[in-house]
Symmetry: D2
């Protein structure tokens, strides 16, 4: 993560946010992983009764709620990575490369079988 | 998200990753929200039986596994945001501002009560 | 829960299972709620890339895996309820009655709107 | 599941609940697995910022909320099992036997290592 990056900016803002509230004591990796999970569920809840097609066409007010949930997930993810000392951007780049090797385009083209074996 | 940002870089890489595999057909927001959830659970699983203190001091090999899971969560989050047309960085900045209003530092200092009411 | 009930039988078996392994020390409600979550995600993972129709027609070997995951969820749920001193069957009966009042059949007939507002 | 069992009683009540509301159309296994997940997260949310010790001593009003969430998880679990044609009690008994073989009491006594390898 370079000093100018998005994820760095968020990391710094969240450090300050927690510092001025004395919330670091609650931000153990264990607790943060739970909070991340809860936010992810709140995000997913918006889609639970929708058809796949409906999930692609949210109404404007629902989209605003969903954007807020996406943000919550990112904020806890950045915070958890920071507390663990993990460079999130570097880890993500590395994972994309791993996935490219695991799923060669010519072998998995158009197939969900690689995902699920169903 | 500016053209040079971390999140933009990941978004572009994931678009290409999916395009060359013809996987867009599976990447409905509904399905992606489920995949994001599953990855978040795999991340949290590393912490489930640890004490808070243990979760702060992972062994090196465990840390590498955790970093991989953090990456998976970010990749699905970026992909889901992209399919929904949400600017994830802008949404996150906006959410930090909202949270700052919701939790004034002088009123919630050092208190978990604002989180949970316990 | 009467002495002969399914849930009582499972509760007793799980108490004994934990006792002979000295695992009660790990079974705090916090930890058990995390374990329950992880198992639920493993269950959901089987459905993440399937269409709604496909999820209704699992292959036999997949069904056996899914049955195992359903069992895992129930076992942690019974265990967590026991540690909290909650009568799970009584709570479930009570919740069905609450839901019947919340969702009057004649007003929500055939509508997912009550679920999601979409 | 015998005709008198707890889980059978709940299964029958939920079938009727869904039938009179014409909600079977929404109750695909995929959707129900998502709903189960969301309820489990709402349950876990009660514990996210608590210490292990605090999670063992909930206040009375919190306990009532937690009991409601435990019930929600059970109801969706019973419903999902029913839609899949899985005998939940039989699956749970079978899983306890499998776990007993996987974790011999004399080898895992008092150890969380079997859980997590940490």
């Amino acid at each position: 993560m370079t000093a100018q990056s998005d994820l760095h900016v968020l990391r710094e803002k969240l450090r300050e946010f927690s510092r001025v509230r004395d919330w670091d004591q609650f931000h153990t990796p264990k607790n943060l992983s739970m909070a991340l999970m809860v936010e992810t569920a709140e995000l997913m809840e918006h889609f639970q009764w929708l058809t796949a097609a409906q999930s692609d066409h949210l109404a404007t007010d629902k989209m605003a709620e969903v954007a807020d949930e996406l943000a919550d997930v990112l904020l806890y993810l950045v915070r958890l990575s920071d507390k663990l000392g993990v460079d999130l951007f570097a880890a993500a780049l590395c994972k994309i490369d791993k996935n490219a090797l695991k799923y060669p385009a010519d072998r998995v083209y158009g197939s969900a079988m690689k995902y699920s074996d169903y």
